[in-house]
Amino acid sequence: MRDAHRARLLEFLRTIQKPDQPLDAVAETDSLIEAGLIDSLALLEIVAFLEEQYRIDFAETGLEPDQLTSVSGILDLIEREGRA
């Protein structure tokens, strides 16, 4: 299941990557922001993606930006809070 989530997530991240920083090879625990692959603007799109695809309600759970800066952090959140 995690593999399916990962594939779906990476596919989405490619649609919001910075134009001059392609998201080709990224380790699951790498900080996407520190690696310069995405920025804080992309976090908003990740939030919208998680709300829409996994029905995570951040108004209920609270939004912790640091959870959303690595692929593994996002996958953990999906497994914990996701409903799809």
Binding site: T15, Q17, P19, S40, A42, A59, G62, D66
Partner: protein
């Protein structure tokens, strides 16, 4: 070796394994003794000193400490601030058992409690005596702690305070490494995430800290040079060679400034402000890194930012983070969820607009202490306009950045990049007309702005 490459290598020395290994060998015994727990204890000891010094330093301009009741009032203020910190820590560590209204809006509850105290200070007639002095001192001193206590509550909301030591929270509540009302390094959650756990990580963090301290010294030198050569500051040894350019705050209320002088002053002010903020931030983050907290620097090459939103990210990182965490995200996850554009606009307005204005209002002693509309009104108009224009600029910049996402694209040409950077400089230089600390009213600032384009 080309100069550019040399500069880049020098800038990355702290990441060079050979340099890190040499630092470890040189500092070996000291690094081994400076365990994370000991480093935290050292900062907690420093916090006790700050707990006494900071409230008194904050109240000195507004409250008569020299009066006979001064020492008692001072003790009450220090104690009052500390009790506030203890109360918030207690609330954060038992977050789940707090009343539902507080749990759902902990930050609103915190600020409501502060404003309740301010209201009492407004209502209580001015008088002598330690109680009245202490009340005035408390409302002036607490804004320094408010956002820090906010991070503590946020940590409690995430269930992370229960297992932590009170002393660890003192690190950032009363930062011995320095700071303003903005918590550099944020709260314990963020600091812990970036804390060096091994000798090697500590060595790397310390080298990165030293680099920032060296950069801060260079920037301070440049500022001293600018003060003499550009502004003709009489205290500078270089003043006799100076251009004698008036400061922007002096130009704003004056009339008849030449077009060229006004534009020069705007860009020079931008450079001055960036250097000053970078120097101060590098000193604070540099010290934090020496203690093993390898957090982001506060200012990172904002003058090379190709967009408004990028400049905003790089100029004053911890203030931006404060606005994002306390205003942007809470609005973003709650409001207009079905309308993506309106959602981002509302969140941007909440952070760069309302949050920015509110943060600066808390720093106005004349407002917090005595609600003086005559002095606060004109300031509010100019600052409000600044916040609104900033919000619109950031929103439009975000929209433009979003539209560029998705497809890999070649980097922009050098000319395009220079054009974008110049645009960002001009936007923030013009915006500073309404943010500059000056006696000038809104009308005078508007006249100055129009005169830049030949409209008098």
């Amino acid at each position: 070796m080309p100069v550019g490459l040399l500069v880049r290598r020098l800038g990355q020395l702290h990441e060079d394994p050979a340099v890190v290994a040499r630092w470890q060998a040189w500092m070996g015994p000291a690094l081994a003794r400076l365990t994370p727990r000991r480093r935290r204890s050292l900062l907690a000891l420093g916090a006790l000193y700050v707990a006494v010094r900071q409230p008194l330093r904050e109240m000195v301009p507004g409250v008569g400490l020299a009066e006979p009741d001064g020492p008692v009032a001072a003790a009450l203020i220090v104690l009052g601030c500390f009790l506030a910190v203890v109360a918030v820590y207690a609330a954060a560590s038992r977050f789940a058992s707090l009343p539902a209204a507080v749990r759902s809006r902990p930050q609103v509850a915190l600020h409501a409690a502060f404003w309740a105290l301010v209201t009492v200070a407004w209502v209580v007639p001015d008088g002598r005596g330690p109680g009245a002095l202490a009340l005035s001192g408390l409302v002036l001193a607490l804004p320094f702690l408010l956002w820090r206590m906010g991070y503590l509550l946020m940590s409690g909301q995430r269930g992370r305070v229960a297992g932590s030591r009170f002393g660890d929270h003192l690190l950032y509540l009363y930062p011995a490494y320095g700071g303003t009302n903005t918590p550099y390094g944020k709260g314990l959650d963020h600091l812990s995430r970036h804390e060096a756990a091994t000798d090697e990580a500590l060595a790397r963090s310390q080298l990165a800290g030293l680099k920032l301290l060296i950069l801060a010294a260079i920037y301070n030198g440049l500022l001293a040079l600018m003060a003499g050569l550009v502004y003709g500051d009489a205290r500078s040894a270089w003043s006799r060679y100076g251009l004698g350019l008036p400061r922007l705050e002096q130009m704003l209320p004056a009339s008849g400034t030449s077009w060229a002088t006004a534009w020069t002053a705007l860009y020079v002010t931008l450079l001055w402000d960036v250097l000053k903020l970078a120097a101060r931030g590098h000193e604070i983050i540099g010290v934090l890194r020496l203690f093993g907290f390898n957090v982001f620097r506060n200012t990172y090459k904002p003058l090379l930012a190709p967009s408004i939103v990028e400049f905003w990210n790089r100029y004053y990182y911890y203030f931006k983070e404060l606005l994002v965490e306390f205003f942007f995200f809470p609005t973003y996850v709650r409001r207009f969820r079905r309308s993506p554009r309106l959602r981002i606009f509302a969140a941007t307005l909440a952070a760069a607009g309302f949050g920015n204005l509110y943060y600066h209002l808390l720093q106005r002693d004349d407002f917090v202490l005595s609600l003086e509309p005559a002095t606060v009104g004109p300031w509010l108009l100019s600052r409000g306009f600044y916040c609104l224009a900033l919000s619109l600029g950031i929103y439009l910049s975000m929209r433009r950045e979003q539209s560029r996402r998705g497809a890999a694209a070649p980097p922009p040409s050098a000319l395009t990049r220079v054009r974008r950077i110049a645009g960002v400089w001009t936007f923030f230089a013009l915006l500073s007309i309404w943010a500059e600390d000056s006696v000038a009213g809104f009308g005078q600032r508007l006249s100055f702005f129009l005169a830049l384009f030949g409209v008098r």
